[in-house]
Symmetry: D2
């Protein structure tokens, strides 16, 4: 086994990364620097530095990435309306690259020889982390213990920790596998692993009420966007982080944005998960609706195609690639006029448009109305249909003449 002097570890304070500190030191004889990327996981961050040091790390960085996360990762993805497989709002997907980038920065700063993460060998996150490392430090070694060591289960992890007296809060109680950040909370595992099971939402949900427990009275909110970026809630200008936090609260209260899906992982298998994305779901809805007013048809339709690719790239961890950047340039250009206000009604899991307006609106009552108007000459339609339908006419005549010719 290769030896390292100093390894930077993506640290979460959970069981996995706690025993990894020990395992790294034992196997590589190295110093371990724990790095926590704060992307809004809140309570999960408490006491992490102390915990890391106790568990054997020589140092612990807790990096506040929330602002950058929102502005450079979340907002461009909202602008794209990128949704993976029709459902997933990419909450974990775009958190990994930003953390991965910070890991590299600290590794270079600290003169580390390797970067380590605690992702399993079956998931997407290993790919997302490692692609970020390759993008910024292509020669940096990467250590993925789950792909190397002999530990195969939670039970073996606990055993490993007990043997080495690693201070962990032992809990044999099984739990869903979760990933939490400012944007979302995901749940996988246990009974969810059988898609024929209905999720036990009352046990699973943490950010949201169940549909049933959501209030019986609707909540109305107004969101203001500038160039596709949400800038104000109910008339109050807010920075992105605060805005999402508030929407999470309002959305969670009203049971907005609970998703259950069987998704296709990049690494080839399907998995099933439940996602809570209360604020994110509100932002996507409001943004998409506003685009109905502000984008012309051709742009809107082609953007739908491109959004599918964008979602794939983000899901796959290909954030730091020329294609993702080029698509972002496309999206940016489309957002120049996506400015306006959207009023939404939140009610027991439903998110309903309650009116919207934009100074750049391309909707014109004058054109759309059934009655008479000064601007649109209905006679134009005849010509339009004749030429739009000309290929159909030609095709039909060709068939007719073949039939006449007895073919």
């Amino acid at each position: 086994m290769k030896k390292y002097n100093k390894v930077v570890l993506a640290y979460s304070g959970g069981l996995d990364t706690s025993i990894i500190i020990s395992w790294l030191k034992e196997n590589y004889g190295c110093e371990v620097i724990a790095v926590v990327g704060n992307v809004g996981q809140k309570d999960e961050l408490e006491g992490l530095e102390e915990k890391a040091l106790k568990t054997g790390a020589s140092k612990c960085y807790i990096e506040d990435l929330t602002k950058e996360f929102v502005n450079d990762y979340i907002f461009p993805t909202i602008q794209a309306n990128a949704i993976y497989e029709g459902k997933y709002l990419l909450g974990t997907s775009f958190a990994r690259p930003i953390i991965g980038k910070r890991l590299v920065e600290i590794a270079l700063l600290e003169g580390a020889d390797a970067i380590c993460h605690g992702c399993t060998g079956k998931g997407n996150d290993q790919v997302r982390f490692e692609l970020a490392v390759k993008a910024f430090a292509p020669d940096m070694d990467i250590i993925a213990p789950w792909r190397i060591w002999d530990i195969k289960s939670r039970e073996e992890e606990i055993e490993y920790a007990l043997e080495r007296k690693i201070p962990i809060s032992i809990s044999y109680e099984t739990n869903y596998s979760k990933d939490k950040n400012l944007w979302h909370l995901s749940h996988e595992g246990l009974d969810l692993e059988d898609p024929s099971n209905e999720p036990k939402y009352d046990k699973i949900l943490e950010l949201s009420n169940t549909l049933e427990k959501a209030p019986d009275k609707a909540t109305y909110i107004t969101l203001k966007f500038e160039k596709g970026i949400p800038v104000a809630l109910n008339g109050e200008e807010l920075d992105g982080v605060t805005l999402i936090e508030k929407l999470n609260e309002i959305g969670g209260e009203n049971a907005i944005g609970i998703i259950d899906m069987v998704e296709n992982r990049l690494v080839g298998m399907k998995s099933r998960g439940v996602y809570e994305t209360p604020g994110g779901t509100i932002l996507y809805k409001a943004h998409k609706d506003l685009e109905e007013l502000c984008l012309d048809k051709e742009t809107a339709h082609y953007k739908e195609v491109i959004a599918l690719k964008f979602a794939e790239l983000v899901y796959n961890g290909q954030w730091y690639t020329p294609l993702r950047e080029a698509i972002t340039a496309f999206i940016d250009k489309t957002q120049e006029n996506v400015t306006g206000e959207v009023k939404l009604k939140l009610y027991k899991g439903n998110l309903v448009n309650a009116g919207m307006k934009s100074p750049y609106s391309l909707y014109s009552e004058e054109y759309a109305t059934f009655g008479e108007d000064a601007v649109y000459d209905q006679k134009d339609s005849a010509g339009f249909i004749n030429l739009f339908g000309l290929p159909i006419t030609v095709n039909s005549k060709m068939k007719e003449s073949l039939k006449k010719a007895g073919k």
Copy 2:
């Protein structure tokens, strides 16, 4: 003005087509044959034959197209998951081609010289009807009174009717412009013409309860699909028409499938509409979810791209075109394994997956689980990531070497 002997009219019994009968006879000196395509508009069909004859038609066909509508138009569109602009389930769009085709068949049978419809010159339906005519009778003349006559409003229509003593049920009361069939009910006009207005759902909705009035208790249903076609509800095998009728009832009760959108019409302007598609929304949801189990990733992802094109073609009335047919061939092939059962929970506007299974499921708990397994070697991931990420590595190294070279 050209003269005709016999004109076939797409007849609905409403004000428009009632005065059109008169107008046709007056202006072309022709016999008018009224044709009603029954695509499930139900109560709107009552007394139509009598009404048509009274209003001056020489004959009235009432054609039951419901079964063909479901099997040949609705089901292929569900299989495609085709949704226009992210919201619209194409209810009016795919009803026009089937009616248009029947109009041609009757026109040919009757030896008519022209086909007439009552669509305005600003909408999509004129295109959809006329493309169908061009597809089956490219030399047939088409008469679209709204693009020709001087009548410009409902008021002028009523005046026209009164002058000629055309027996209409006079109602100056304004109403939303509606289109109803087995699949959906659409609403346009009046206060909806200003997108800043919240729709008055309690006045608008006809098929559905409002969210608030939907029951406080969830309804569970089970849908069975075979090759992407829904074949049974709650264990009972049903023909397509009955199935959709039952789902409309259950869905409407639970306020499922109410959509409000500003859409881009084919003829260039935006319009705003509210759609009720209770049963359809349930079928789309169940089908899409089942595909999560039964389609592999590459197929699922590419099908998303193709669904956008399919939706465009259907919306545009390009049903009888080689491209629509070729895409249907693609979709058909993808549906071979989309067989299984989906349980859904309906609750106050929410449609929640409550478990599903398929004999063709590609989901494998064994692969997906976090724990140990016999089939998937986590070490494979390292190689996968290295090669999947190789372009990123190469790009990164290129940049590094340029930097070193001082460029």
Copy 3:
């Protein structure tokens, strides 16, 4: 007929626009201002001002648009590798918008009430001109005589001119319909109208030698690109206009870039044309080849998809649209590293890459070589294939287990 005070006419000096001057004055009682957009049609420009005034125009603008044409229209299209229907390099398509834009500018400057063009009602150019007018002066009237007047043929045009003593150089000799500019020369009509005829290249070609008459000795050239823009030929830095002129000469000599195709016009019918694009073909080839070195796979592949849309937009005259602009933003971003040199061999219609290099090359001999290397671990392939192929494995196992279960 509506009356106008002043009409701006897109003037070419040919028979059509010569009699249009007369026709406009006669029918609208207006002053006619002739505008010629110089997009490199060269000899066709000689004596145009004098001719326009003699034929009755009150003024004649000859606008040098060549530089803008190359930098803002041609180069972005090369960068996109946009080719319509696999063959057409869009020579006429992107010339129309720039002329149309200048027409509007002059019309506004002159206070004209309408813009007139001499395009037929069957072609694409009427659309391209008029979309440009709509983009910059949506309320400006447009006069398209060919869609209005009773003249139906060249013979009737000449008769019209003779009756009014319009000074035209009478030639009853039939000729191909041509469009010439810096980028290309197109030929349509006469025997080309039957696709079963082989084009009489020795009569048709003007910019190029026939294949047979091209020299028996190869010509080698070197092109240098910076960010996807050609900047030097054979080591000599050249402005875009001069570069294309030189390439036209070299390419024409070697019979490069002669295309024969049946294309789909926007207005619904097919037409057949022969195109000469000697310099353009060289630039496309060199640029595309260089991208093979400088673009990563994902970007290159997605750019191929996007190029199809870009070509459609340009062909359709949709240059001044948000979607065209957004796609250009995408393309721009992809070109950042498309810098380098391409050597080409020109020989009797063939254009052969004779070596290329780039400081941003992503090609690495080390990776590609069959032998041993330090950077790529062949063992990684096993893992890659296992995961890349996992969906196939899963699918195959599903089928096997169904078979075993006797289904």
Copy 4:
């Protein structure tokens, strides 16, 4: 190392697979069954059975796959117009799956425990072979010696053979790495590994004359297609294999179809190759041209998009996947009317359409002509342009009114 009883080897008779026989027996103690898939590699097949047995194989299958190769792999790919990265006609790509499938069939027949191939760990072919195996025998073991053994170069291979007295025809002379079949011949390696080198075509080419040595006199041929399948050459009906062989001869003589490219391999790096595909290039050209007559615009344009995906799938070895099959269903449907004759002129590397016709032609001289006609009303264009351009008008008016409002 795992032990096997019987291994089926994809055998070519070259140095690699010759020593692999020995290596397999030595390392796995197994019987080795050599299988040669005859996909038209001709002279390379001579004496192979004897050679295999001499080198230690217990049995040698020589499977004639040519007919199936042409009908089930080559023709569907021509119908799709699938070209990888704008140049590569997929000659090696679609040969691997058919051989891989036969390998599995023989392995199952023989009761073998593993399948072995001699592909390097850096190329695409390992993927293509192995995906075929996974598709038909997901649990079959695969042995890829180049990813396992310590041999790193041709020199070490020869040394290995000499040590074990494996009868090989020793040649230290370096040569390009080649792959030959009925469809093409590829060349990689040596001086080609530096993209700045012009290929030494006079040394490289085997199927084709150099451009310079091709005859100075043009050859004319006529190809007949039925539903997109080539069925006759110069009036003579030919089976697919013979047709391609004849076209290879004629094409090679005239230096048709020589390609030089830097391509992106699936496994992440770029490689450079020269391809000779004389007959294939002719077939692609003729088929694509005929489609210009027989496909309507929408189908033709969308097929261009789909062809890109099809090419990717074939290149990646994903032949036996649901998506490839679904796309083939799409393509099949589009080919129903692609019937007709194309005349081509072959001259010194140039392939020129010399006239074509089809009973299903959608080209209509009547529509396309500049002069008067009975079928197309030029006035229709005005309406068409107004509605096609309506979004541009609306956008332009929105900007104007914002400007007036001082924004």
